[in-house]
Symmetry: C2
Subunit: 763 residues, 2 copies
């Protein structure tokens, strides 16, 4: 298609205010008479609370309120699906290091902090569970006394006949892989300001990815109706899945505001971000796969055990995604999957980019290379051979509407000069490939879609109200591009109002690579509605029927005769002077088709409106003396449909690839008795510019998705999914050792080299 | 009508946050990297600027920018109608004490203030004009060199044959009255924060009455298109007409932001509010009136000379209102009027409650009592006799749609026990009456109406977007009442979003007693649109046609069978689940019917969609030893149509009556060579609780206006219009002296008593 704005390198509208320091992050918001709050947190991973004495804190000058768990409404909550398990502050027990125990509101942060030190909590330490395999065992101590066992969530999925599949396979192998906890590490810590109004309304200012989800999450713990809660999202300084759900740091200040009558701010410290928000959930992935000798996949049996930490949070869907992202992009006729999420006495797990997909793909893409080696097939060929395709009758009832996966793999192989280099580079230098499919939004909850309202006043400025959240991926810019494209007006005349759950219409939130897809549709519909009304008003003026009109380049004109027309601004004037009520309003709504009775745990069906497919090539050098891995290249082919804005996609590809490198080689959170040992940016190993891949690059792919707005689908999140196996495969190519456990740190490489040396054989 | 919410004593929704200190006024807004600015102002009333040296100020550490008039785009602006006459800062001449000369942006207010003291301005003093009569004289020095004379604006209006009317009159008298300047005296000073974005968009946070008017006003001086300007109105701490138009304190910080890349705040000092914003325009009202011996008004010739100060501002309409508010509420068959607005070297005049009406009514209602006395007719009778009425064929083509004026006068007279007490109270104790009509909004500018958009998401909260500004009169509460009434939902489920020119649809602004009238209509329309869609969706569910349904008390039900229904919340759910796009949107628009070719200066026509009529009785005691007037009572009958909220109307009646008392007896701004002598709350005589009338009371009147939303019309502003003549008339009744000049201060009374004593006669 010949677009004017779509697909163009339109600079991100949020970039100038952010780089100028004009953007207003949560901590920049200062309200009249605002109080500051701090939370007292458990120093133990598991303990009974015998007594809390807040009397000295309460008596301290400048302290306005002190609360403990029993002050809150006596309800448990949780954004999860299978029952609530968390209270806003701990009641009689703490279940992880950092669990909230008490909170203070005071006239400044220092007093609040000091008041915490005056609260005396008597704990009776309890034995703690840190290993999900231990926690799963029958008879293990129960972290939640009111539950049967420590299984937080369980999902099963199957099709075909797996056992027969294995019998019919020429080669079967079973491997186990593990992944580590990762922190989202947003530059901006989690933060909120709560204001409980006298009339029972609540305003919550917060940094978050999904203001409407946060709004809903406040209702139960505070005992209020959803429409009484007004969430105003501040600028988001990084989300990555870690600012989706409602957490105690958002509930507590609202409650403290109820007690004090003032707005109450809470800004988490960096350590609190680590220990009290969410993290990527560590996992154990056991995979048994059977193939024909030509590499055709026949059967697969998978078990995904996830350490969810002390509470469920919004994390359960990880074991659903683990299944779905194992079912793509390869044809596997016989499939059995069990996902189990297990409580431990560790901080709470939640979504982080990919959310189950990186864990599943690390296992699958590593094992696929091992199988390829076992049977003497090229890793590229085995991937292409088993690829799904448009119209493939997926036994799990996944529907493929567009698929450039083979082209992805081929392009990456060509770009890497695969045939000439694979297995032929000098010792210590290697290349590898990884691949994945990825969802473009999720569709398991009906009637929660995305919506856009456009209002145009006499000044002809196009005011777009939208509840979507830009967390850096650029959806704000995309919304303006879509409106400008459809209305044929200037991009800079589109003004976006967002982030306010009362001004903007509902949007489900930014997660699951769904917001641009969903809001793209609703915005396009709203713009179409505006355009139709406008052309109908202008048609008599130009003495044609409205179907003969078009809008483009800031003009409304007779199709094919741009000179027979008027400016967009004049068109608005004509609309108004024709007696039409102002403002001109257009409204758009989108929700993915949802099958009736769709549930989180189900045997089959579509998880997402459509899927993107990604292949990624990694090139590494490994220092065999130190075990250090230098990532030279990450080359990605993400056939993400029509690219709406190349700048955004490139930013996503680069950012995700670096994130993938972190997941693969750097990021881990070790603990001692449940206490995190590296809860700071000094100690937590985010890849720095020195660690990051020397080159990250996205290849341009040409898919157009029939379900996507302008043909677009997922772009970005999927890029980090195949990175870890691509690097693991490249390391194997370089030095002949296979690392099963993420992150692939120098000590693991040295140990593996040592073992290989001892064995005296190539693995 | 039997309303559920309309007409009820619903507490003002803005009251709790304001009384809690939660409301965010402009100075409460603190943005990241914000700078502070101050303006250097002329110490002379009229002078040539020979040179400005800003070099020392620019060099001062902490100073980020210094500007003078020549730094701005070379344009003149003005919100007035007949040509622009003002620059943002003075160019080569200052024209009044306080005229802006230079401005500084610095990292804090103290540095900005100190930097001002480092700016050296060389002035050549010029002779100055302070008296409009002098300024009007041919050959007077010209305040604006590029104009023919010092006449800023002129309006003529006539019907009938005035000279024949005087010949046919039995009695003709001519009197001259003067009124003083008054300050609006908002508790919150004028203030703004400007932010010029890199992409050319501008955000202006400001305290104002009409964000869309302020938006338009920024365009010319800054050279930007209207839709590029985003105005966010903060809570308004008092307006009274003084925060309607765009002024330099709003333009300058935006421009300083352009230079610095940071948001720039400007808060005026109290003295700056007096000398640099606006004031009630002092005037001379010459009135010649002829009557038949029974009191029937026959002919009237009026000349209204207004001192506009150094620039026109938004003030010109005062001489239009002077005409229209003289043409009501009495039948005057022959009428001639000239309004002239004259430049002087004084601070700029602008609208203040009534804006021309108090001046005209002070003259007319005072003279009417003098005429009544001359011809021996009772003041009450002469008012009733000459009253207009519904359907009266007004020779000036004013249309009267509802009129309870006779009832107003009758009710006040009865309440004051007029017949028994008028002229019969002991010396020093008197009663008097005054009257007026008042506009309910103005209708001279087509295509600028008011609009409301309602959005309802799945949570069933009713989100109302409206550009109207509540400046204390309670329109926010009224909007919620109207929506709740029409949708039959709970008042507290209506949530209002306002004050943002991009989120809210256009509204003309809060002035001219028009906002509730206009926005009442648009809100009602929007609610009707929502209701229709909702009932249509619910009808199949209840197995009736939608016309058979009603919504009331939080339920949608079959008319007459409230049990056959569902809750409002359930109705929204049904709407959504019926496949309708969400949110449910309703849109409403209202603009008064406007005759084609309507102009500011025209011979005839309707000024307002409808008029309210007010009578007011005053009871005073005058201390003949000191001249002090004690206002015992102000009893008002304002037949304001259907009362939408009695609490609001009562507040308006009380507040306006006290304001009227200030205008009548206290407020004046003396000057010395153009320098104001009382620019502080210590010196400016606002009536305190000790000065205020002992009793202010509104009588309940029963008019329903066919043009108004639910039958409502003007309520409040009109109450202060007849106060000055009512008090002047009561003073005459008490001590037999007639004061022609406002305010009626003790010294004027003592002088008049002295003169009367010398003359030895009763005037």
């Amino acid at each position: 298609m010949d677009y004017e704005v779509i697909g163009k390198r339109v600079p991100n509208i949020d970039a100038p205010p952010k780089s100028r320091g004009q953007a207003q992050y949560l901590d920049d918001i200062k309200l009249p008479n605002m109080l500051h709050s701090k939370m007292l947190r458990s120093p133990l991973a598991h303990a009974r609370i015998l007594n809390i004495d807040v009397s000295r804190a309460k008596a301290m000058p400048g302290v306005k309120a002190v609360v403990t768990g029993h002050d809150f409404p006596p309800v448990k909550w949780g954004t999860g699906y299978q029952g609530a398990d968390q209270t806003t502050l701990a009641l009689d027990k703490v279940r992880h290091f950092g669990d909230g125990v008490a909170a203070v509101a005071a006239i400044d942060e220092e007093i609040a902090e000091e008041a915490l030190s005056l609260i005396r909590v008597d704990y009776e330490p309890l034995p703690a569970l840190f290993d999900p395999l231990e926690a799963m065992k029958p008879g293990a101590l129960k972290i939640h006394e009111d539950r049967e066992d420590n299984i937080a969530d369980r999902v099963n999925k199957a099709f075909g006949d797996v056992e027969r599949g294995f019998r019919e396979s020429d080669h079967v192998r079973e491997d186990t892989f593990t992944t580590a906890p990762n922190n989202h590490a947003p530059l901006e810590p989690h933060a909120a300001i709560g204001l409980w109004h006298d009339d029972g309304n609540i305003t919550l200012w917060t940094t978050c990815q999904a203001p409407f989800i946060v709004r809903r999450g406040l209702c139960k713990p505070l005992g209020v109706a959803e429409d009484k809660v007004h969430v105003i999202r501040s600028e988001v300084g990084g989300g990555f899945g870690g600012k989706m759900e409602t957490m105690s740091h958002q509930i507590v200040p609202v409650f403290l505001s109820k007690l004090t009558g003032s707005p109450v701010k809470m800004i988490l410290s960096r350590e609190e971000v680590f220990i009290s928000t969410r993290q990527r959930q560590p996992s154990i992935f056991k995979l048994r796969t059977g193939v024909k000798k030509d590499g055709t996949l026949v059967s697969q049996d998978a078990r995904f055990i996830v350490d969810c930490g002390a509470y469920k949070g919004l994390g359960p869907i990880i074991i659903i995604i683990g299944a779905y992202m194992l079912m793509l992009p390869y044809i596997i006729p016989n499939f059995r999957y069990e996902g189990i999420r297990v409580y431990t006495n560790k901080p709470v797990g939640g979504p982080l980019r990919g959310h189950g997909a990186p864990q599943a793909r690390f296992a699958m893409e590593s094992q696929l290379d091992m199988i390829a080696k076992d049977i003497g097939v090229d890793p590229v060929d085995i991937r292409v051979k088993n690829s799904v395709y448009v119209g493939y009758d997926h036994p799990g009832k996944q529907q493929i509407f567009s698929c450039g996966f083979k082209e992805d793999v081929g392009s990456v192989a060509r770009e890497m000069n695969w045939r000439e280099r694979k297995g032929k580079l000098p010792e210590g230098h290697g290349i590898g490939i990884g691949a994945s499919g990825l969802f473009s939004g999720v569709k398991y909850q009906p009637h929660y879609g995305g919506s856009t309202t456009i209002q145009i006043n006499m000044d002809a400025g196009i005011n777009v109200l939208c509840g979507a959240t830009d967390i850096g991926q650029g959806v704000n810019t995309i919304i303006c591009q879509i409106v400008a494209e459809e209305l044929g007006c200037r991009f800079e005349d589109v003004h976006l109002i967002t982030g306010d759950t009362r001004a903007a219409p509902y949007d489900y939130g930014t997660f699951g690579s769904g917001v641009t897809f969903r809001i793209g549709h609703s915005t396009l519909s709203a713009a179409k509605e505006v355009k139709k009304q406008l052309l109908q008003a202008v048609a008599p003026h130009l003495e044609v029927s409205y179907e003969e009109l078009d809008a483009r380049a800031g003009r409304v004109f007779v199709k094919g005769h741009m000179e027979k027309g008027i400016s967009f601004r004049e068109a608005i004037r004509i609309f108004s002077y024709a007696g039409n009520p102002m403002p001109l309003v257009g409204r758009g709504y989108y929700e993915p088709d949802t099958e009736p009775g769709t549930e989180l745990v189900k045997k089959e069906g579509q998880f997402s409106p459509t899927y993107a497919f990604i292949a990624q090539g990694a090139e590494v050098k490994v220092d065999k003396e130190t075990g250090e891995v230098k990532i030279l290249k990450l080359i990605t082919a993400d056939e993400c449909g029509q690219i709406l804005n190349p700048i955004n996609v490139e930013g996503q590809v680069d950012g995700s690839a670096v994130g993938g490198a972190g997941l693969a080689c750097f990021e881990d959170i070790p603990h001692s008795n449940g206490q995190y040992l590296n809860s700071s940016f000094l100690d937590y190993l985010l890849p720095t510019t020195l660690d990051a891949p020397v080159e990250t690059r996205g290849l341009e792919m040409k898919t157009i998705d029939p379900k996507g707005p302008f043909g677009a689908k997922e772009a970005g999140e999927g890029v980090m999914v195949p990175t870890a196996p691509a690097i693991a495969n490249a390391i194997f190519d370089a030095i002949g050792v296979r690392i099963h456990d993420l992150p692939i740190t120098p000590d693991k490489i040295m140990k593996a080299l040592e073992k290989k040396k001892l064995e005296g054989t190539r693995t």
